[in-house]
Structures are given as C-alpha cells and as structure tokens.
C-alpha cells in the first residue's frame, strides 16, 4: 500500500505498523515523534499502530532553533 511519509510517497507492506516503518527507515524511536493523519501517535502505540492506504505520516525530531 502507498502512504505519504513526510510528504513523500512510499510503499509499505501489508501489516506495516509505525514501528516497522521506523525500523525500515533506521530511525531510533527514542529520538522521533510521529503523527498519523494529523493525530499524535504515542510511543507506546508504535507497535500496534497499523498503517492504512493513504495514511499521511509525519516523523519529526529536534533540530537547531532559537
């Protein structure tokens, strides 16, 4: 199925979850936060947060700022 990750289209397998997506992207869970369709996904929910066709996923982290 196709989803949008940080605005870019991406194909993920059936049964994909937020956790499997982060693993695929080699992103450490401790340093990121995730939104699905503009709603926060808590870290405790990563494992069971199943992705669905057309989901808009935002993965953010901290960068330099004032």
């Amino acid at each position: 199925m196709e989803i949008l990750v940080n605005g870019e289209p991406r194909i993920v397998g059936d049964g994909a979850t937020v956790r499997s997506l982060l693993r695929e992207l080699s992103l450490p869970e401790s340093r990121v936060a995730v939104e699905r369709n503009r709603s926060l996904v808590r870290k405790a929910e990563f494992e069971n947060a199943a992705l669905a066709e057309g989901d808009r996923i935002e993965i953010v982290t901290f960068v330099g700022g004032g």
Partner: protein
C-alpha cells in the same frame, strides 16, 4: 547569594537561555553552549531527514547537562503550535515548551490572540508553557492568568540585534506579573543582555546574538558575564539618575 531561576518546578542557576540554530557547525555550537553556561537550550521541531544524510542535533547536545526547550517557531496558527508541542513532548519526554505563534513574516511579531488561545489549551494538557510574546503588560498578565510558567517578551524583532527598544514597557510588564520574565529576542550584544537584567528581568534568551557573531564562543562567554553582571547590578540597587553632579570627595578639609 542569588536565588535560582525557578520555572515550572525546576530550578536553574543560569539566567541565560540559548538557542541551537544558525551556528556555522556543531563543534562551534557545542563550545558556545558550554561558554554560555546555559542550562536551558531551545530547539526546533522539524521533519527528520529520511535519507539520514545529515548529522542529528541530538548527537551533539548532552541531554544530561541541558534541559531542552522545544519551540513552535514558524507556526502561524494555534493549531499548528499545539500539534508541534504534542510532538515535542513525545520526542523529548519533557513538558517544557517555548510557545510561539507568529503573526507576520516580516517582523516575526507574535499573534497574541492565537498565542493566548494555544497557551490555554497547552496548560490544560499539562505543559510548562513559556510564551514568546510582545512587550505588552496586559497580554503578559493574560498569559500569566492562563497558567503560563513564565512570560517571554521580545526586546526587539527576532534576529534584529536592535537591543532593548522599550525598557519602560519591560519595567511596567515586570510590575504586572509575578511569573519569571525572560527577554526573548532582539539582544545583539552583551550590553543589551546586561540592560535586560538590570531592569529586573529574570533571564534572557538569545540565539542569533551568539550564533551570528564572528566568534560565537567568545560572544557566548560575553553574554554569560553580561547576564551575571546585570543581575548583580539589579540586586545591588543602582543609584538614582540625577541631572546635576554630586561630589564624590569631601568638601571639608580643603587647604586651598
């Protein structure tokens, strides 16, 4: 002995808060943060690089040493600012946020109506809210009443380096609220930071003033000293300003 700066139940010895943006490179930033003596550092929340081609800020900021203060820079609506705070808390596991709702691209002045609305929601959600606001005492009081842990009035536009443009408003603002007042934005050089502290502000937050200096590390040290000197001068109680002279040497005992 000075009392520590107390915000949201946490105490800090340093009254200088610094940003982590705009440094020429990470090693310079690390050394500048050290030289500043700051314990609170601001960060922005942005999309991760999916290709992992760039280094991560968090590889360079010692989280045991610094309290992260995520900002909501570039948010123009209360909704975007709230989303950003929720993400920041989840990424950082701390509930401190520097709340900004920007009203205009050219000045980066705050949209205080949206700021207050966002602050009310975030306080209810359990955040320690430090709002970037203008130097309006009425709005500062409203933010305090909404439950903000501090108020952070600008001294001049963000990144402008124009210094303390309206010391009188800051004085009135200081009288209007009980929560800590931290000057946020506009400080260009050490004397600006000293003036803010001499007025009685509880702290100063800056980024460009340090990161944009020719030698950020030395400027960070200068800012640390200025904040400390300004604070001491405030606590010591300055002499009143007078138009005419008062002799420093005795008038008695002259032999001429």
């Amino acid at each position: 002995m000075d009392t520590p700066l107390s915000i949201g139940g946490k105490t800090f010895r340093s009254r200088l808060l610094v940003g982590t943006g705009k440094y020429p490179d990470y090693p310079t930033m690390v050394r500048a943060l050290e030289a500043s003596g700051a314990e609170i550092v601001t960060v922005a929340v942005r999309r991760v690089n999916l290709d992992r081609s760039k280094e991560s800020l968090l590889d360079h900021v010692d989280l045991k040493r610094y309290t992260l203060l995520p900002n909501t820079a570039a948010c123009y609506t209360a909704d975007d600012a709230i989303r950003t705070c929720l993400l920041a808390r989840e990424a950082g596991m701390s509930n401190f946020v520097k709340l900004e709702v920007i009203g205009d691209e050219k000045t980066l002045f705050p949209d205080t109506e949206a700021l207050l609305a966002a602050a009310k929601v975030l306080v209810k959600e359990g955040f320690i809210v430090l709002p970037y606001t203008n130097d309006d005492p009425i709005m500062a009081k409203k933010l305090e009443d909404a439950g903000c842990a501090a108020v952070m009035p600008l001294a001049a536009p963000i990144g402008s380096g124009l210094g303390i443009r309206n010391p009188y408003n800051l004085k009135i603002l200081l009288d209007a609220v009980k929560v800590p007042v931290i000057v946020d934005a506009g400080v260009g050089t050490a004397s600006d930071a000293a003036v803010a502290m001499e007025l009685g502000c509880d702290g100063v937050l800056m980024n460009t003033g340090i990161a944009g200096a020719k030698d950020p590390v030395t400027m960070a040290e200068a800012m640390r000293e200025a904040v400390s000197a300004g604070r001491k001068a405030f606590r010591a109680g300055r002499i009143p300003r007078k138009l005419f002279a008062t002799a420093s040497s005795p008038l008695d005992g002259t032999f001429f």
